[in-house]
């Protein structure tokens, strides 16, 4: 009996693009619909199952082996810090993780002694200040609209993802430094990679080839 390969996709902006990858390599995913009540979609022919979870949960499912493969943004992977194989850069969902703040404090920022940092990514922010800046700061965890924090005096700066930088600009904020470049990644459970290496390697190779062809036609 062939075992199912379980794939966890992040709900939201990456879901449709991720599902499209599998459809393009011939793994039928049905309609991946965020509103659908059905939690698991299966492809009986290829013995593949697919499910949508909150972005932050993708690396958790994959680390525990509940999903063999996952697709999530690199921001999520860095924030979760899970022990998984990161095998492919899928290219889409590209943006940057940055340190940003009001232009007025850009030059004096490094001299401030008690820095307050608002972010949705406390781990990334902490690691950045621990390892790169070698200092302890006050991390303020927020769930959204992080740009508001420096404007209202909640924090001095923010650590967040930016795509175009338009929102920052409109709110009088500037990028101080880029912490990491972000895009969607394919991750694989460490045991699945070994125990199901033939099937998983085929999926990786097929997607890699398909991405290369896409790039060629685009370029």
């Amino acid at each position: 009996m062939t075992r199912y390969i379980n794939i966890a996709l992040a709900k939201g902006r990456l879901a449709e693009l991720s599902a499209g990858l599998f459809r393009d390599i011939g793994i039928f995913c049905g309609d991946v619909d965020d509103d659908s009540r059905k939690l698991i979609i299966s492809d009986e022919e290829n013995k593949v199952r697919l499910f949508l979870v909150k972005p932050g949960d993708v690396p958790v499912y994959v680390e525990y082996g509940a999903a063999d493969i996952g697709i999530a943004g690199r921001d999520t992977l860095l924030e979760e810090g899970r022990n998984v194989y990161e095998v492919l850069d899928l290219g889409f969902g590209a943006c940057r993780m940055v340190l940003a703040g009001p232009g007025a404090i850009k030059d004096s920022f490094s001299l401030m002694s008690n820095k307050r940092v608002a972010t949705k990514y406390p781990r990334i922010a902490r690691e950045y200040f621990d390892h790169k800046m070698k200092e302890s700061v006050e991390i303020i965890k927020l769930s959204g609209s992080v740009e508001l924090a420096p404007l209202t005096g909640l924090s001095d700066v923010i650590v967040d993802i930016v795509e175009s930088g338009k929102t920052l600009k409109e709110n009088g904020l500037e990028v101080f430094e880029t912490i990491a470049s972000i895009s969607a990644r394919m991750i694989v459970n460490r045991v699945s990679m070994k125990m199901e290496s033939d099937r998983i390697n085929k999926i990786i190779a097929d997607i890699r080839q398909m991405l290369a062809e896409r790039n060629k036609t685009a370029g």
Binding site: G65, V84, E86, V188, V191
Partner: protein, 407 residues
């Protein structure tokens, strides 16, 4: 007051009788397996000085250890690992004994960050250490014990991946990298993050041929052909020796008849603080973490003042049990064979009942004596509720009759 009296701390669990029974059965199987290879069990204290585990910077991250103080203010830890204490023990207590030392242990470890086995902070490990031997035969012996431990536990489908950190070290040497830089590459290779390796190599202007080999490492697993391919491109003798070593160990494992369980992963690069040569990990279905891991750690004993090559492995018993239950491999269950019943108002019957129970126990049957049933009917109901096979009614004249357990 006493708000937490009903709870166990997070990551600490009661092991209930019906869970403990199969656990002990597995531990016993492993114990006899290790002994059959002429390894003998040792115990080290559950509490050690912090210094034992942090003799070298980065050996055991301090945030993973449970700490307290002794009367003199020295820092104590609950052991996060037994390999290091075993090496300490050998370095300080075995001075004049002939090498090699073959030691095994089964015991509980304590870690704040334990990922496997459902993230328990207290968990049981069984493992074997071979100290004072640097031959490929020694590496192969430890790997064969690891494979046999999986088989002894009842697993049929599993895989042991073998790597050699020397190849990676040779590449780093060739690239002229040191310390933190090496650690960065190590993590990227170990995560199979090819993009990350390319980016880093690009920024640091690594030689093109080394970069190519580094980006090939993460995908070089599975068949032994990878070794030959890398052998032809190896830039220095450190790399070549590592590859020859891995081929040799695999050859020996073929002779053990274990070839079908063995696979190669040159991209597996575990902590360089600890490992110095052959490393390996064991996997099976149903659990997302390696079940066992081990390898050669020739530099460790030197920290304790004695140069002594060594290799060993440990496996997580809690994880092994989850894997077995997910693979529907039957776990041993406690079984009581007889319930002895007598009329509690009859002193003669009581004496005979105890004698009968004793005889049965000596014959190897698990036997319970009924201590509260008013009549044989109660005894049969009790036997049925506890899953006891048969009820023996003992009479004062020395005869007895058998009754089936019933509801």
């Amino acid at each position: 007051m006493a708000k937490w009296k009903m709870y166990t701390p997070e990551g600490m669990q009661d092991i209930l009788p019906w869970e403990c029974y199969p656990k002990r059965v597995i531990e016993e199987r492993l114990r006899s397996l290790f002994r059959s290879f002429a390894y003998y069990e040792a115990e080290t204290p559950a509490v050690e000085f912090l210094d034992v585990f942090s003799a070298e910077p980065g050996l055991t991250p301090q945030e993973t250890m449970f700490k307290s103080f002794d009367e003199q203010g020295r820092i104590l830890v609950l052991r996060p690992d037994i390999t290091i204490p075993v090496v300490r023990m050998a370095a300080t207590k075995f001075r004049d004994l002939p090498e090699p030392y073959k030691i095994f242990y089964i015991g509980n470890m304590y870690r704040f960050d334990e990922h496997g086995g459902g993230r328990q902070k207290e968990f049981t490990q069984a493992g074997a250490e071979l100290l004072g031997a640097d031959t490929p035969e020694a590496d192969a012996e430890i790997i064969s014990i690891a494979a046999n431990a999986m088989l002894a536990a009842g697993l049929k489908e599993f895989q042991i991946d073998i790597g050699q950190v020397g190849f990676f070290k040779g590449l780093m040497h060739e690239a002229g990298l040191q310390g933190d830089e090496i650690e960065k590459y190590r993590q990227l290779v170990d995560r199979k993050d090819i993009i990350g390796i390319e980016e880093l190599a690009e920024n640091r202007k690594i030689r093109e041929d080394i970069k190519k080999l580094l980006t090939k490492l993460p995908v070089s697993f599975g068949s032994p052909e990878a070794v030959a391919d890398f052998r032809s491109k190896a830039p220095n003798s450190i790399c070549r020796e590592a590859l020859d070593n891995i081929s040799e160990v695999i050859g020996i494992l073929e002779d053990y008849g274990l070839g079908k369980y063995i696979s190669i992963d040159l991209g597996m690069v575990s902590s360089l603080k600890y490992y110095s040569g052959i490393i390996f990990k064991g996997f099976t279905y149903g659990i997302g973490y390696p079940l066992l891991s081990g390898g050669r750690y020739d530099g460790l004993s030197e920290i304790f003042g004695v140069k002594r090559p060594a290799t060993g492995f440990s496996m997580g018993i809690n994880m092994l049990m989850s894997a077995m239950s997910r693979q529907k491999i039957g776990l041993a269950k406690p079984l009581t064979e007889y319930l002895v019943w007598y009329d509690r108002n009859d002193p003669e019957a009581r004496r005979l009942a105890f004698a009968k129970a004793e005889t049965l126990r000596r014959e190897g049957f698990t036997t319970e004596v009924c201590i509260s049933g008013k009549n044989i009917g109660d005894a049969c109901i009790y036997a049925s509720s506890k899953g006891i096979g048969e009820v023996l009614e003992i009479k004062a004249d020395g005869t007895f009759s058998k009754h089936a357990a019933r509801k």
